[in-house]
Every structure is written in structure tokens, then in C-alpha cells.
Amino acid sequence: MEELIKNGYSRRESGTEYMFLILERFKAVAEKGEPEDVIEAYKGIVDELKERRPVNAGAWNIMREIGKYLIEKDYDKDSFISFIEGLRKKIDDSCWEAARVASHRVLRDDTIITLSRGVCLRRFFKILADTGKKVKVYVMESRPGMEGIDLADYLDKLGFEIYLIVDSAARFLVKNCTKAFISAEAVAVNGAVVGKVGSSLLSLASNEARVRVYVIAPLYKFSPETIYGELLKLPEGDWTLLMSPDIRAMLPENYRARAPIYDVTPPQYIDGIATDVGLFAPQAVPVILKQIYGSFPPRILRVDEIIESLEKKYMW
């Protein structure tokens, strides 16, 4: 692992894992503290989200749900904890269900190409293994972070035949594959998918090679803000995501790097989005959002509006 760490391998939570962490934090704060502490934690998490995972649509969606709960209900520790536990279960179930829907698209002799290590992506492979679909899997290394190494490790334990490749080899080897499956950090209203950087490159190369592209994205990954024209601002890192300080020390002092973490795959490169309510074309996102929120455009509370209401209710 030491050599991999030198080259930038690191463990970063996937979108869904990050959501689970948020819920655990709420639970821990609620167990110990007063409602004011919960509100403080809420504000702290919002700041952290803006800074670290601004495009994690799932996290914003649960923050909205939690905020709505705290505004509408009279705070009671036990009820709040059971609400958080319920929310966790809902996310967990949705993720499994989206993975199951995606797995139906796979035939026994398929060769799949993928990248990164999303929770729903891993569950998708788990279902394939459990249902005896022992497909071949090409896994891209997925820099920065090299989470592809973790996915290959996971798939190795599930007994798949795996081919680990560098990100640059995607176009060269995609012709050996029959389907591409990617996970999402967010899905925009026009069906564009924010995923680990390299997803759009893989989707482009897949389209060129006429390999179908599927996105595994439970509905909690849909970003309702994008209906109102909000642009998803993609965060970037620097050399620290690409190498260890020892390696950096060997490079020129003025060495500069940009390490984007996500990219946007346009809807025209995506054949289907597998969600917990079924598989549909990316361009059908508004239809699905109407189903979830009951109207289009849906009325959504902005997080800063929520914070304002919470402060009014709990802090004064």
C-alpha cells in the first residue's frame, strides 16, 4: 500500500457513505445534547458540505429533509433519533433497489467497464455475484484517489474475473466490453450526471464504441436545485490528491497540478439511469421529479431559508 499511497491512493468516502456519516453525526449529537446543539451541528454540516462536497446532491437532500422535520415538529430527542434512523434506512433501501434495477440489465456473458467505488455500484456487483452473473469487469484505476484499486479488491473477494487498467486505457479497452456502469454524485434536471472524474471520458469512449452506458443513481441523488438554474460547481484539488509529500519534494518547486474530483456526463451519452423506482432515460428526470415532489416545478426549501427558520425557532 505504501507504494500506492506515494502515487496518490487514498480512501475518500463515496457520496452515499458521506450521507451515512452525516446521519451518524446527527444521531450522536442528538443522543448527548439539546436541540440547540442539533441546530449548531446542522449549520456546521452545511458549512462543511459547501466546502468539501458541494455537489453531493444526496447530502443536500437529506439536509433539507432534516431541516424540514426540525421546523415542522416539536423537538423530542427520541423521535428525532428515530427519524434519523428511518432516513438512513430509506437511503439504504433506495441504494439497494437502484442496484437491483441496474443488475437486471446485465446478461451472464457481459463484460462490464466501470470506475471508482460508489456504494450502490458495489451493491450492484454484490447482487450480480449473488444471482450467479459472473461477468468480467474492467476497472479503471480512477485517479485522483485511485478508488478503482478498492473496487478491484472488493470484486476480487466476490470472485469476478477482473481487469485493472489505468484511466488512459479506457478507450483502448472499452471495445472488449459490452456495457459501462457508473455511479453518480448528483443528477441534474436535464439528466446530466455528476460522477467521479473520468466518468464522462469513459461514457464518451463507450458511445464511440457503441457500448451502452448506465448510471446507478437512487432518487436521493437528484438535485432539485438545478431546476431553478443552479449550476453545480465542481470542486477541485491540487497535487496533494495525486502524490505523497515525498514524491512532491522530488518535483520542481513550481510544480502545479489541478485535480478535478468530478466531471459531468451529458445526458446524450447515457442510455439509462437505474433508480429505486426503475430505469429510465436521463431526459425523463423532470417526470420523475414530479412524481417525487407531486408537482413540477417542485417547491423546495433552500438550505439558508431552513437555517433562518431553525434559528428563529430554536435559538431565540
Binding site: R143, A152, I162, Y163, A169, V197, G198, E208, P252, P260
Partner: protein
């Protein structure tokens, strides 16, 4: 009785074989030099046919050292082509070989500079350029364009698994060019900021496809999608005569431990690590190939091959590269 091949020639052949001499340009120049030395040292019978036969044996020896390289046989073909065309006695043929070898070496050394000057003219003003891996010819184009005040910024890919992009970073920054490195996965993400792509080539095939470091073809694909022009900087000795008769350029798969450590591989029995060194960029994604002879559309690659290695093409058609024996092609 055969005239013995001189020791110095054997030494060069051995150095090429064992990779003590590396890099397309160096290998090509070493081969030309070996032919020159052989011609100079020839002291066999004063008969032009015998001299040709001797040179053909030397050529066969040199070509056999690295059967899949392109620059090496091309250097040999170039010199042998001039010998084939030459007429006269041994002294005159010897002069022809020496002159051809010297010309090849000088032109090869000049080629990168010429490519830089020609290629720089193709760079737009205030351009943001993206390059992949490390190519001396591509760097030459970028540096020359920078000196002309045309380059605003350069994005250079890391180029896994060996990070040759770091060499590019050093070379460009040494010349003052502002460079930012990006991971290979980010080329499509960054492409909307890029005006032009300049890459090198390992081999150019007869239909204008470019074999180059793995990842080049997806850089070109992403550029094509974004309507960003792609230029390939390639010396003419990178053009492969063997592809004219339909031979495929072999893609080398290198050691998996270049990607992940051996202990990781050992503990993951179901994982095969595939490490292809090169990929193939189709000509439709390339706007122009910049050679020292000038700029050509990739589909005109055959022109360079005819111009540079016309004679060799005939010989190759008879036998195929690797199987061609110069000695057997001599006419009594």
C-alpha cells in the same frame, strides 16, 4: 569468403539489442552510424557486388536487433536505398553510404528543431495547449510557439503508469512555459479550456493512424468532441513502411507492477492488471501531422513513406518487415 563485419558494428548492434541505446532517435542514428562505419572499414575484394553484399549483411544484422522498432529499420532502409540507387566502383558506393548515413544523422538531429519551427506556426495566438506524455517533438513545437509569444498556458497529463508528464513539466518550465499538470482522467473535463492539442508519435501507419502512448487516442477523442484541433509532431523516421503491406503495429503490454505493486497482485488472484503501452488514434481525430518535411494531413502519410522509403516499400512487399533479408534482395 565473406568480409568480416567490424567489431564496432557488432558493438552498436549489441547496444541496441540490450537497450543500452534507447529512444527512437538515438537508435536510428546509431544504426546509420553503424552502416557508415561498416562502409568505411570495408577492405574486402574491390568488387561493387561484393561491397553491396557486405553492406546488406550489416543491414540485416542491424534490423534483426529490434524487430518491432520503427526508427531502426527506417534508418537502415534510408541508407540502403541510397546505396541501391548509387552506381560505380567500391569507392563511389562507399561514398554514397557515408553520405547517406551522415545526411540521415544530420537530418534526424535537425528534425526536432524543424518540427518545432513548422509546428509553432500552427499554434494560435494566446493559445492554451494540452499535451500528453512526453514527446521531444511536441515539446519543441510548444517551446517554439512560446518563444513566439503564442502560448498562454499548457496542460500536461500525468501519464500513468510512469508519469512521463512530469518530464514534460520539467522541460517546459525550464523554458519558462506556464504548465499545469492534470490526471489522465481529467482530459475531457479540461478540454473546454483548451485551444489545441499537440502530441508526439511512436509510429505513424500508412493510413495515417498514430500509435502513441496509451491515452493519446482518448485525448484526441475528447478534443474531437470539443472541436479542438489535434496536431501530431512526428519525425519522418516514425512512419512505418511495414504497415503499407497491412502489417499491424504490435501493442506491447508491459509489466503489471508498473501499475500496482507485486504484493497487491499476489493477494488478488482474480485480478489481471492490463498495462498496454500504446493505443491507436485514428486519422479522423488528427488534424495534421507535423514532420520535418512539412505539415501533412494524416491520410497523406503514404506520401512520406514513398518520399522517404520508396525503395524499401518494394523490398518489404516482397518479404515483409522482420523477414526481409537485404542480402537476398541483391540482384546479381
Amino acid at each position: 569468403m565473406y568480409m568480416k563485419i567490424p567489431e564496432e558494428v557488432f558493438k552498436i548492434a549489441e547496444d541496441i539489442k540490450t537497450m543500452r541505446i534507447r529512444g527512437a532517435g538515438r537508435i536510428a542514428r546509431a544504426a546509420a552510424k553503424a552502416l557508415k562505419i561498416a562502409a568505411q572499414k570495408y577492405d574486402g575484394v574491390n568488387d561493387s557486388y561484393e561491397f553491396r553484399r557486405f553492406m546488406a549483411r550489416v543491414a540485416d544484422l542491424l534490423v534483426s536487433t529490434r524487430p518491432t522498432a520503427v526508427s531502426l529499420p527506417n534508418a537502415v532502409y534510408y541508407v540502403m536505398y541510397h546505396l541501391e540507387k548509387a552506381e560505380g566502383n567500391v569507392a563511389e558506393l562507399r561514398d554514397a553510404v557515408i553520405h547517406a548515413a551522415d545526411t540521415f544523422i544530420a537530418e534526424s538531429l535537425e528534425a526536432v528543431k524543424k518540427i518545432g519551427i513548422i509546428g509553432a506556426k500552427r499554434i494560435k495566438d494566446d493559445a492554451v495547449v494540452l499535451t500528453h506524455c512526453h514527446s521531444t517533438a511536441a515539446v519543441s513545437v510548444i517551446v517554439e510557439a512560446y518563444r513566439m509569444g503564442k502560448i498562454r498556458h499548457v496542460y500536461s497529463t500525468e501519464t500513468r503508469p510512469f508519469f512521463q508528464g512530469r518530464i514534460t513539466f520539467r522541460h517546459l518550465t525550464r523554458e519558462g512555459v506556464p504548465v499545469t499538470q492534470i490526471p489522465d482522467s481529467a482530459v475531457r473535463y479540461i478540454m473546454h479550456e483548451v485551444d489545441q492539442v499537440v502530441v508526439g508519435a511512436d509510429t505513424v501507419t500508412s493510413n495515417g493512424a498514430v500509435v502513441n502512448k496509451i491515452g493519446t487516442s482518448q485525448v484526441a477523442l475528447a478534443a474531437h468532441e470539443a472541436r479542438v484541433r489535434v496536431f501530431v509532431a512526428a519525425e519522418t523516421y516514425k512512419f512505418s513502411p511495414a504497415t503499407v503491406i497491412g502489417e499491424l503495429v504490435p501493442i506491447e503490454f508491459r509489466d503489471p507492477t508498473e501499475i500496482v505493486p507485486a504484493d497487491w497482485i499476489a493477494s488478488h488472484p482474480n485480478v489481471r492488471v492490463l498495462n498496454p503501452s500504446f493505443d491507436i488514434t485514428p486519422p479522423e481525430y488528427i488534424d495534421a501531422i507535423i514532420t520535418e518535411l512539412g505539415v501533412i494531413p494524416p491520410q497523406s502519410a503514404i506520401l512520406i513513406l514513398l518520399e522517404r522509403f520508396g525503395w524499401a516499400l518494394e523490398k518489404i512487399k516482397q518479404g515483409g518487415i522482420g523477414r526481409i533479408r537485404f542480402e537476398e534482395t541483391l540482384e546479381e
